[in-house]
């Protein structure tokens, strides 16, 4: 397992959620995908405000399941969108996409192990 996820935090969440833990993981997988789809769509539509909101939401959920690196990349993108620095968005967006993929794989693996 990579350092993508905070396993200590996830262990705590498992204790907290008990039988709902796998549902939480599933929800994250589904929601993060949907949020990222919204982010991409907003970027294509040139709607920076909608992009900011969606990536803010993705950041929150990601930080909560212990994906600190992804949350940090989301934060970078959120700030760029807020500051209207469109020229830097494509790069940041690509980094979020790549990290999100890795996080999803890790979560998927964790879920499969349940």
């Amino acid at each position: 397992m990579s350092e993508r996820l905070d396993h200590e935090l996830l262990a705590e969440l498992e204790m907290l959620m008990e039988e709902d833990f796998s549902a939480l993981l599933e929800t994250y997988l589904r929601d993060s995908q949907a949020r990222f789809y919204e982010v991409s769509e907003a970027w294509e539509a040139g709607d920076l405000e909608r992009l900011r909101r969606s990536v803010h939401s993705l950041k929150g959920a990601s930080s909560n399941i212990g994906a600190a690196a992804l949350a940090s990349l989301c934060n970078d993108l959120e700030e760029l969108a807020r500051d209207g620095r469109s020229e830097l968005v494509p790069d940041a967006l690509a980094r979020v996409r790549s990290e999100l993929g890795e996080v999803q794989d890790a979560v998927q693996a964790l879920h499969a192990g349940q």
Binding site: L9, E12, L13, L16, M17, D20, A23, L24, T27, Y28, D31, R53, H56, S57, K59, G60, A61, S63, N64, I65, G66, A68, A71
Partner: protein, 569 residues
């Protein structure tokens, strides 16, 4: 806490919502979830949570708007709101505070921190609920108390400010604001027509004052109506109050009795500021100084009921107040003072608005201190006897009048003469006969005069000429007081009453053990002076009040008659 607290979790992010709900539920709270702002408001109304976890950024209504509605709908209930937002967003933080956010929680959610915050807010909420309950209880109690006080005040006013206060020669002012300022003002006429006024000020401004007023008024009216003298009424009032009032409570009081026929005023002051008697002929002022302890301090054995008598001619005015006026303080802490009060009274003319002037000056003196409005004032003006006639008691009911024919002899020996007053008893007997009632005022006045003549000039041998000067007047009453303690002799009343269908006749003979006087010479002399003299035996006055007056023997025996026929009553 037996009741399960309800918490609303509003976050549009499904993962975050699941986590929060899990934490909150694990802490034993009941949870409702809302997926966006509109849903949050709907769930708030339906679920009635005691606390709310609210995401700041949500589609539709955002968290700030939702918070605003929640706080508004909660009214004075305390519904803590924890905003789910990053502490790094200064703008959002400021807005959250502005709409009434009570705490913040940032992501990633930390179970321990959230638990701590929930506990802290829960304690705050419990304090708030307790405070609210206590406040409601206090305001309920308060409302109840006010209601009771108002009811008690209604009773108090009926008892404490009653009687003859609407008579033309009495003016008074009682501050309307104070629920109970403890001030009592009572006025009545005794059977002979004397005006009795009692101004009292109970310690404290509460129910104690009201409670004390009841027996005081009862004693005052009851005994005055039976013809008891001021000293006797005060003695009984003091006896009763010293029994019922708690230690440390008492009643400062002044009682005055105006005798319109004689033009005199008798007074007793225990603890009130001196009343002012304005003598209109000399424009002099006589102070009714307090020379006694207030009522209710000592028991009967130590009570001093001795009164003073002063002249009060028609037009003379007496102004009395309780201490509220003289003790009114301005911003510098100076009292209005008795000198100011005195000056205003002294410079006022008959019919002047002395009350209005006093009131205006007192309020001007108080300035912006907003002190208690605690003013009780009374003014009594002496009028000639004919203007002070007792109101007609109406025609006797012929059905109730029964024929009568009786004699009564009542003789008082020295011990009775020293200590008791025979008039109330005799009056009680006479009022049993309805036919006598139309003349009761005249009969009682004449009885009173004859008795004091027999006692003072006959038995004690006091010289009425003393009363010709103002200083002699005081000396006379002092001598009377001394003579009373050592006198020997008797006074006898012989009544003969005959009543039939056509009318009736009452004759009263008063005999004393004194040496008598040369009534033939004296009566001529008095007639030459003319007008009712306030000294002497007041024969002129007596003659006006009855059908006949005859001195006999050596002048120690006098007979008066009252007669009437049923057709001319």
């Amino acid at each position: 806490m037996s009741e399960t607290l309800r918490i609303l979790v509003a976050d549009d992010n499904h993962v975050d919502r699941m986590l929060l709900s899990a934490i909150v539920r694990k802490e034993g709270y009941a949870v409702a979830e809302a997926v966006d702002g509109n849903d949050a408001l709907a769930k708030f109304r339906e679920f009635r949570p005691q606390m709310v976890l609210l995401d700041a950024l949500m589609p539709g209504l955002d968290g700030f708007e939702v918070a605003h509605f929640i706080k508004e709908e909660a009214g004075e209930d305390f519904i803590p709101i924890i905003f789910l937002t990053s502490l790094t967003e200064a703008d959002a933080l400021a807005r959250a505070l502005e709409v009434g956010g009570d705490d913040f929680l940032s992501k990633p959610y930390n179970q321990i921190i959230l638990k701590a915050k929930l506990n802290a807010l829960q304690r705050m909420r419990a304090v708030h609920v307790t405070m609210q309950r206590q406040r409601d209880e206090i305001s309920r109690h308060h409302a109840h108390l006010i209601q009771e006080q108002e009811a008690a005040k209604a009773v108090f006013d009926k008892v404490a400010h009653t009687g003859l206060l609407d008579a033309a020669f009495i003016r008074y002012l009682i501050s309307p604001l104070a629920i109970f300022n403890g001030d009592v003002l009572l006025a009545t006429r005794n059977p002979a027509g004397d005006l009795y006024v009692l101004l009292g000020d109970f310690t404290g401004h509460g129910l104690t004052a009201a409670i004390g007023a009841m027996p005081l008024a009862e004693i005052f009216y009851g005994m005055a109506g039976k013809g008891f003298l001021p000293g006797e009424i005060l003695r009984e009032a003091n006896r009763k109050l010293s029994i019922i009032l708690p230690k440390g409570y008492f009643c400062c009081a002044t009682m005055v009795a105006l005798n319109f026929n004689k033009g005199t005023m008798e007074f007793w002051n225990g603890g009130l500021p001196p009343g002012c008697l304005l003598q209109c002929d000399s424009r002099g002022i006589v102070h009714l100084e307090s020379t006694h302890l207030p009522l209710g301090i000592h028991g009967d054995d130590r009570f001093d009921a001795s009164t003073r008598v002063v002249r009060m001619a028609p037009g003379d005015r007496l102004v009395m107040c309780t201490d509220g006026i003289v003790e009114a303080r301005n911003e510098q802490g100076d009292t209005f003072g008795f000198e100011r009060f005195d000056g205003i009274v002294m410079n006022s003319g008959p019919g002047d608005s002395v009350f209005e002037t006093l009131q205006r000056d007192v309020y001007a003196h108080l300035g912006s201190t907003g002190s208690d409005d605690d003013i009780t004032l009374v003014e009594v003006t002496m009028v000639p006897p004919q203007q002070a006639a007792l109101p007609e008691t109406g025609r006797p009911d012929p059905e109730r009048g029964t024929p009568a024919d009786w004699r009564l002899s009542y003789e008082l020996g020295p011990r009775s003469l020293r200590t008791s007053n025979p008039l109330p008893l005799l009056q009680q007997i006479l009022v049993e006969f309805p036919q006598l009632r139309p003349q009761a005022g005249a009969i009682f006045t004449v009885l009173g005069e004859l008795y004091s003549n027999a006692l003072e000039h006959g038995v004690m041998g006091l010289d009425s000429r003393l009363k010709r000067s103002a200083s002699g007047f005081a000396a006379y009453y002092e001598a009377r007081q001394q003579a009373l303690e050592t006198l020997e002799g008797f006074v006898r009343f012989d009544f003969h009453c005959a009543i039939d269908d056509a009318g009736g006749c009452l004759s009263v003979t008063v005999t004393d053990s004194g040496p008598g006087f040369d009534f033939r010479a004296r009566l001529c002399g008095e007639a030459n002076v003319g007008g009712p003299a306030y000294h002497g035996r007041g024969v002129q006055l007596l003659r006006n009040l009855c059908q006949s007056l005859t001195y006999r023997g050596c002048g120690n025996e006098v007979e008066v008659t009252f007669s009437w026929s049923d057709t001319d009553v």
